[in-house]
C-alpha cells in the first residue's frame, strides 16, 4: 500500500509545474508599475469660495483667497480653479472627481459679536466623504491677528489632509539697514512679516547695528544683538507688550544669539582672548554662563539641533577659512560638515539646523571666485554630500521654516529679480519673493508656529 501512495505524490509534484506552464502560455502578460510619492508630488485641491451673508461677503472672499494662497505656498498642493457651475450648492463628489480634485475645501462665514465664525469642511473627493469638519472663531478683519487666524486654519488643512506641518501661521523676523545715515551712523530696524509676505511691520530699531534676530521657541520673544557704539549687547524683546531687556552675560562684545529648543538657555558668540568663542547662558534663571569652545580660531553663529543635543556653528579653525562644524551642545569634539578641499579657499558660514531633521543649511562658496550660495548638508554625516540649492546672484543667511522644507534667505538681486528676502522650497527648488525692494534686508529668522486651529475652536 505504501508504494502507490508515494507514486501518487511524485506524480502530483511533477504535474503541477506542467499545468502551470500550460496555463501561462494562454495568458497575456501582466503589467509592472511603480507609484512613487516623492516630496515634489502636489495633491490636487480646490477651495470653493466661502459662503457668507452679503454684508460680510468681502471678508469671506478674503478668507478664501488667503487660504488658497497658503495652500499653494505650502508647496504640497496644486490649487485648482473652481468651475462656475460648482461655485455653490450641494457638494457632488462625482463632479469634483471628474475634475481630478482629490480634496475640496468648503466653508461658511458668519458674523459674531467679536469677529466671525468659519465653518470649515474638508472633503475627500476621491473617497466621497467628509474628512474633517470644524468651526473656528476668527477675530475681526481689522485686528492684526485676523490673518494669522486664517493661516492657522490653512495649516490645519495641511495637517488633516497630508499629515504634514503647515507653515502659514508663522512669521519671519529680519533686520534692515536703512539707506541714509545720521551723522555717519546708519540706523537699523527689526521687522516682522507674515510667511505669505503680508503684514510687514517694524517692531524696533536703533541708531546703530542690529544683528541676528532669533525667535524664542514659543514665538513670544525676539533676541538680537545691538551695537550702538559702546560694543555689542544682547537684547530680548517681548512681542506682545514691547518690553525690552538687556541680557547681561558679562561681556561687552556678544553676537549671533540663539535659543535652545526648550527656551531655557541661549547660545551666542562672545569675544574672549582675542577671538570669538561660543558660550551658553541660562536665560530663564539669569545665571550659569558656560564656555562651549576654547581654541585660537573664531567660533560664531551657533544653531541648536531640534532635540538640543548638538550645536552647528561656524569656525575658522581649518586653514583660517570659515567652515561649518557640529559638536555636542555642551561642547567637545567638533566635526566639519562643509566641504574642505585642499588648495580651494572655500568659505561657509551662517548655519541653521533643521527643526525636523539633521540637515544644516548655510551659505558659502566653493572657491574664492564664487558668489555666496545656499547649501545643504547632513549634520549626521560629516563629509557627506553637500547640495547647492541656489545659483543666481548672491544668496545668504538661510533660516529653516518649521516644516524643515522651506528656507528664507537674503537675495542680493540679479537681472530680473529685486534684492530682498526670498523663500525657497528645498524639495522642488521653486522660490518666491517674501519682502523685496531693499538690499539692506538681512539675517532673517523663521518663527515657530504662532497659532494653531485648536486655539480657535
Amino acid at each position: 500500500m505504501r508504494r502507490p501512495l508515494l507514486l501518487s505524490c511524485a506524480l502530483l509534484l511533477a504535474a503541477a509545474p506542467l499545468a502551470a506552464q500550460q496555463q501561462d502560455t494562454a495568458r497575456p502578460p501582466g503589467i509592472r508599475l511603480t507609484t512613487r510619492y516623492d516630496v515634489a508630488t502636489r495633491t490636487a485641491i480646490a477651495v470653493r469660495p466661502f459662503s457668507a451673508p452679503p454684508a460680510i461677503a468681502a471678508v469671506a472672499d478674503s478668507i478664501t483667497t488667503i487660504l488658497q494662497r497658503d495652500l499653494e505656498y505650502s508647496g504640497r498642493y496644486n490649487v485648482l480653479p473652481v468651475p462656475g457651475s460648482l461655485l455653490s450648492g450641494r457638494v457632488d463628489y462625482r463632479q469634483w472627481n471628474a475634475l481630478n480634485v482629490v480634496y475640496l475645501v468648503t466653508g461658511a462665514v458668519s458674523a459674531t459679536a467679536s469677529g466671525y465664525e468659519l465653518a470649515l469642511t474638508v472633503h475627500d473627493v476621491v473617497y466621497g466623504r467628509v474628512r474633517d469638519e470644524q468651526t473656528l472663531r476668527l477675530p475681526a478683519a481689522t485686528s492684526g491677528e485676523f490673518r494669522l487666524a486664517v493661516h492657522a486654519a490653512s495649516d490645519d488643512i495641511v495637517r488633516s489632509t497630508l499629515s504634514a506641518p503647515g507653515i502659514a501661521a508663522t512669521r519671519i523676523a529680519f533686520t534692515r539697514k536703512n539707506p541714509r545715515s545720521e551723522g555717519g551712523i546708519y540706523t537699523y530696524d527689526v521687522l516682522v512679516v507674515d510667511a505669505d509676505g503680508f503684514n510687514l511691520r517694524r517692531i524696533g530699531g536703533a541708531s546703530g547695528q542690529i544683528y541676528s534676530p532669533a525667535w524664542s521657541p514659543d514665538g513670544s520673544r525676539l533676541l538680537y544683538a545691538v551695537n550702538t557704539g559702546g560694543g555689542w549687547r544682547l537684547v530680548e524683546r517681548e512681542l506682545a507688550g514691547g518690553q525690552v531687556r538687556t541680557i547681561d552675560v558679562g561681556s561687552s562684545m556678544v553676537t549671533t544669539p540663539t535659543y535652545a529648543p526648550d527656551g531655557s538657555r541661549i547660545a551666542f558668540a562672545a569675544w574672549r582672548e582675542n577671538n570669538w568663542e561660543l558660550f551658553e547662558y541660562n536665560i530663564a534663571e539669569n545665571c550659569c554662563l558656560r564656555r562651549l569652545t576654547s581654541d585660537r580660531a573664531d567660533d560664531i553663529s551657533p544653531s541648536y539641533a531640534r532635540d538640543g543635543s548638538r550645536i552647528a556653528f561656524m569656525s575658522s579653525r581649518v586653514g583660517g577659512m570659515p567652515h561649518i562644524f557640529v559638536m555636542p551642545a555642551q561642547g567637545g569634539a567638533a566635526l566639519a560638515i562643509s566641504p574642505y578641499v585642499h588648495g580651494q579657499r572655500g568659505y561657509y558660514t551662517s548655519p541653521d539646523l533643521s527643526p525636523t531633521g539633521s540637515e544644516v543649511a548655510f551659505h558659502g562658496h566653493w572657491n574664492s571666485r564664487g558668489t555666496y550660495q545656499i547649501m545643504l548638508a547632513d549634520a549626521g554625516r560629516p563629509g557627506g554630500q553637500v547640495r547647492q540649492i541656489t545659483s543666481e546672484g548672491a544668496n545668504e543667511d538661510p533660516s529653516w521654516a518649521p516644516d524643515g522644507r522651506h528656507l528664507v534667505y537674503t537675495h542680493a538681486g540679479v537681472r530680473g529679480s529685486e534684492p530682498g528676502l526670498y523663500v525657497i522650497d528645498t524639495a522642488t527648488g521653486s522660490r518666491r519673493p517674501l519682502a523685496t525692494g531693499s538690499a539692506g534686508m538681512r539675517l532673517a529668522d523663521w518663527s515657530p508656529p504662532l497659532l494653531r486651529a485648536a486655539q480657535l475652536r
Binding site: R2, L6, C9, L12, P17, P28, G30, I31, R32, L33, T35, R36, Y37, A40, R42, D61, S62, T64, I66, E72, N78, V79, L80, G84, S85, L87, D92, Q95, A98, L99, N100, V102, V126, Y127, L162, R176, N178, P179, E182, T187, D189, G197, F198, N199, L200, I203, G205, S207, T228, V235, G241, T246, E392, Y422, G429, S430, P433, A435, T436, G437
Partner: protein
C-alpha cells in the same frame, strides 16, 4: 540522595538502556507514517504555492510617460501679487538709543493694507458628464522605461488613480508590492500583497487604495481589443517624503 531524585535517575537510566537496546523503542510504523505525512503536507504547500505563483502571468514593464504641467509658483523669482508688501520707509530716531533698561514704546511703521486679490476667474461649467480633466498639475512626472504598451492612456490612468486613492501620512521609505487584476468591466479582484513593507498599516492602505479604486471602477473597463478577460497589475507603492 532524595528518594524521588534517585527514582527519576533510575528511571532515566532504565529508559536509556531500553532505547539503546532498540527493541524497546517505538516500532517503524509510526515513523514512516510521520515521514509520509510530512511529505504530503510539504507537497501540498508546494503545489498550493505553485498555484499562487503560476496563477499570475509574467509581469512586463511597459513604457510610461506621465508628465504634468509645472507648478504655478515655479521658476525665477517674480512678484506673486499686485499687492506685494512694500518695505516701509526708515523710521529715523532722534538720538542714538542707549542700552534700554526699561521698556520703550514701539513705533509702528505704516502697514501695507491686506487687500486680497480676487479669486481666479471661474472656468466654464463642466457638469456631471464632463470628461476627466487632462492629467497634470500634481507634479506627477513619471518616466518608466520598458516595452511599448498598446494602450498607453489606460496605463497612465491606472497610475494616476493609484496615486489619488493611496493615502499615507506615516513613515517614509516604505515599499510594498501589491498584485491585482482588472476585469473586463473595470472592476478589480485578486488583490494580494506579494512583498509587504513590514508596516501592517502601510500594506493595508495599499490594499485599500486598489480596492476603493476598483469599487469606483476608476481604472475604467479594459481596452476593447485587449486579449484576455483580465489585466494583471503588479504595483509597487513607494512613498518618499
Amino acid at each position: 540522595m532524595n528518594p524521588d531524585t534517585a527514582a527519576a535517575e533510575a528511571g532515566l537510566a532504565h529508559w536509556g538502556s531500553g532505547l539503546r537496546r532498540g527493541p524497546r523503542g517505538p516500532g517503524r510504523g509510526p515513523f514512516v507514517l510521520s515521514v509520509l505525512l510530512h511529505v504530503l503536507v510539504a507537497a501540498g504547500l508546494w503545489v498550493a504555492g505553485l498555484q499562487v505563483r503560476h496563477d499570475l502571468p509574467e509581469f512586463v514593464q511597459y513604457r510610461v510617460q506621465l508628465v504634468s504641467p509645472p507648478p504655478t509658483v515655479e521658476g525665477p523669482p517674480r512678484p506673486v501679487e499686485t499687492t506685494a508688501p512694500v518695505v516701509t520707509p526708515p523710521q529715523p530716531q532722534p538720538t542714538p538709543t542707549p542700552p534700554q533698561p526699561t521698556p520703550t514704546p514701539q513705533t509702528q511703521a505704516a502697514q501695507p493694507k491686506p487687500v486680497e486679490a480676487k479669486p481666479a476667474e471661474p472656468k466654464p461649467a463642466q457638469g456631471a458628464e464632463a470628461r476627466p480633466a487632462p492629467v497634470g498639475g500634481e507634479n506627477i512626472n513619471i518616466a518608466m522605461e520598458g516595452q511599448e504598451f498598446p494602450y498607453p492612456e489606460y496605463l497612465q490612468n491606472i497610475l494616476l488613480q493609484l496615486k489619488r486613492y493611496f493615502r499615507w501620512g506615516g513613515a517614509a521609505n516604505l515599499s510594498a508590492q501589491v498584485v491585482f487584476y482588472i476585469r473586463r468591466d473595470g472592476g478589480v479582484d485578486g488583490i494580494d500583497v506579494i512583498a509587504g513593507s513590514g508596516n501592517f498599516r502601510f500594506d493595508l492602505q495599499a490594499i485599500e487604495a486598489v480596492e476603493q479604486a476598483g469599487r469606483a471602477k476608476a481604472f475604467g473597463p479594459l481596452p476593447r481589443d485587449w486579449q484576455g478577460e483580465r489585466l494583471y497589475i503588479l504595483n509597487t507603492f513607494e512613498p518618499q517624503r
